[in-house]
Amino acid sequence: MTAVQIRPTVRQAPPVHPRRRARPNLVAGVGAALWLVVVIVPLYYLLSGSLRNRGEYLTGDSLSLPENPTLDNYATVLEGGFGTYLLNNVIVTVGTVALVIALAVPCAYAVARSTSAVVRYGFTLLLMGLAIPAQATIIPVYLLITRLHLYDSLTAIILPTAAFALPVATLVLVNSLRDVPRELYEAQELDGASPLQTLRHLVLPLAKPAVMTVLIYTALTAWNGFLFPLVLTQSTDTRVLTLGLWEFQGQFGANVPGLLAAVTLSVLPIFVVYLIGRRFLLTGLTAGFGK
């Protein structure tokens, strides 16, 4: 049914094993060096290319350092509507994350604690969503969105993106809530707390790491989404970053350094997050797919 292998997220990795000083692992070293080249060369090409002027890009050695580094390309991109795309991306990302958290947290609480058959069947339905590739449903989603007169709005992107992020989000939360000892819930109930109070005072604080994971996972999905924006939006006013990059290709024509600058700028926000909280980001990325 589902591809997801679940381990409780709270269990920690074993303590670092102080390896005996073994002889250096040559094979691994060579492999790592090779992969480093494969990763670094394109990234260097991206960064250095974005700093060249067009003439140098077209005729010069693409691996050398830029002769006359220039930020003009970045200026061109920023004047070319990048701000609008960035803002749209932020709106879509925040909207999707808010919607997913608002729906998934109470849902996960109910799944973890309720005995109702409705909840059980509903959760099974939700888990089926893990196996549905969103790509296969774009045509009906498109039909749905146009019939709801939402076509070419940011809402049109948020709704299906959130819906397809919901299964993983709920699953991650449910697993973390199921790890909460039953006694804690019972203590709350003895105190006469209503389910809503339990949700606020027990569930939310305990599920905080899981909520963070869900938040990052959903945010990345929304931030990097391409298919839904492609099919469901149209005008420059609703264009998100990923589509904007693609459009830049046509808009800038032969200005490849401009395109590279746009790509660099689009990565920058996530790169900053990566620098600040690498561990959080990586955990969020693999949310629900084993730890």
Partner: protein
């Protein structure tokens, strides 16, 4: 009307409407339009053009019409959705031809024949071959609203001079030039083969020169069986001769147009010729200004082919773009007034010319001569004006699904995966 926020309210509405959809599968609620509503005009995003369009609306009455613009590629998708729903615009930008025919066949487009008959001076204001680009089944469905875009053979004068060569007048000249430039290590013809529509320009011209315009028009009007015409195989064989000679170099399949590949090859002198729409001039002007300003960019009409049946001077390309009106629009009368009064005003025509366009309006030779880039624009104007037929690009002239299929088959042909016969057969036999 743009909707961007209000997620919550909309989500509730979404639930209700989705329930309705699931129940009956019909379109959502309609948008009622009162008589005081402005005429909604849809056009492509284009910084220069949009300003001109807005000015024409201001002359018509800023509150009587409203311009909404959309990006290029998905515009057709957007238009299709809108025309299929109650939220249709009153006036919409289009390419004429088979693309428009689909909407005409669906009963979505207003017949403008009566309007043109009643205003002879409006009808005669446009070049007839261009006005006919939006004529379907003997009726007019569109009014030209911008410049003409014939496909032109551009060449690099400097590279030609270095090789002591003259631009081609005939197909044999062209074949000779291929040898000349190959010997000099220059790619004879730049081709952005990763985008099939650039290859299409070659097929269109060669078929036209060899068989005349009837063969394609038969395909358009009577269906894919028309590809079985032996002239198609003949033309594609001639084209294959050019490809097999190495005219396009050995990596054309990965050269792009959007990313500027082919244009840059020409400007840098790494390629000698480039067949492209007339917009290539302004494109080069912005991307490689030194190349154009040095006077190195040359242009000629597509060469003739000895023994071919095609009328000399026929051009292919985008005749122009048209404004068409939505049938059943509550603003139909106002929309008619807009298109019949605003597209031929001196201000509008002048603005187009100043932006580098060559409007499809009769008698503007003098005006062109006094505008920038006069040498080029006058030449394009004469080329289009004297053309007995202005064949619309096939991908615009065929229904979308046929066009899509044709383009992929054409790429296979250019790669050598399909013989001329196999190309014609696959198009003719498509279900």
């Amino acid at each position: 009307m743009r909707r961007r926020f209000g997620t919550r309210l909309r989500a509730v509405g979404a639930v209700l409407a989705a329930a309705a959809l699931a129940a009956c599968g019909t379109a959502g609620p309609g948008a009622g339009g009162g008589a005081q509503e402005p005429v909604v005009i849809w056009a492509l995003q284009d910084d220069a053009l949009n300003k001109i369009e807005q000015d024409s609306i201001n002359r018509f009455g800023a509150d009587r019409a409203k311009l909404e613009t959309f990006g290029n590629d998905p515009y057709k998708q957007k238009l299709r959705v809108a025309l299929g729903s109650p939220q249709a615009p009153d006036v919409f930008f289009n390419w004429g031809g088979g693309n428009l025919k689909e909407y005409v066949d669906a009963g979505k487009v207003a017949d403008l024949t009566g309007l043109l008959e009643a205003n002879p001076q409006l009808k005669s204001a446009f070049l007839p071959s261009v006005l006919d680009g939006a004529k379907i089944g003997g009726k007019h469905y569109g009014i030209p609203m911008r410049g003409m875009q014939p496909v032109v053979l551009f060449y690099n004068k400097k590279v030609f001079a270095e090789a002591g060569a003259q631009p081609p007048k005939t197909w044999d000249d062209l074949l000779g030039l291929v040898d000349t430039f190959k010997a000099k290590g220059v790619t004879p013809i730049a081709l952005a083969g990763s985008q099939a529509w650039t290859e299409l320009m070659w097929a269109e011209y060669v078929l036209d020169r060899i068989a005349g315009s009837e063969v394609f028009q038969n395909i358009r009007d009577n269906g894919p069986q028309g590809w079985k015409d032996p002239k198609v195989v003949e033309a594609m064989t001639v084209l294959k001769g050019l490809i097999d000679k190495g005219a396009f170099g050995d990596n054309f399949a990965s050269v792009g147009y959007d990313i500027g590949g082919a244009s840059t090859l020409l400007a840098q002198g790494r390629a000698a010729m480039h067949l492209m729409g007339s917009w290539e001039y302004t494109n080069q002007l912005s991307q490689s200004p030194d190349f154009v300003k040095a006077g190195d960019l040359g242009w000629v009409a597509f060469p003739s082919i000895a023994g071919g049946k095609g009328q000399a001077g026929t051009v292919v390309g985008n005749a122009t773009n048209y404004y068409s009106l939505t049938e059943g629009s509550p603003q139909l009368e106002a929309a008619k007034e807009f298109v019949s009064t605003q597209l031929t005003t001196p201000e509008y025509v002048k603005a187009l010319i100043d932006a580098g366009d060559v409007p499809a309006v009769a008698g503007i030779e003098e005006q062109l001569k006094s505008a920038p880039n006069a040498e080029y624009t006058t030449w394009v104007y004469e080329l289009a004006k004297n053309a007995p037929v202005f064949q619309l690009s096939w991908d615009q002239d065929l229904p979308a699904d046929q066009a899509e299929f044709m383009l992929t088959q054409l790429q296979e042909f250019f790669l050598g995966n399909l013989t001329p016969q196999a190309f014609a057969d696959s198009l003719a036999n498509r279900a």
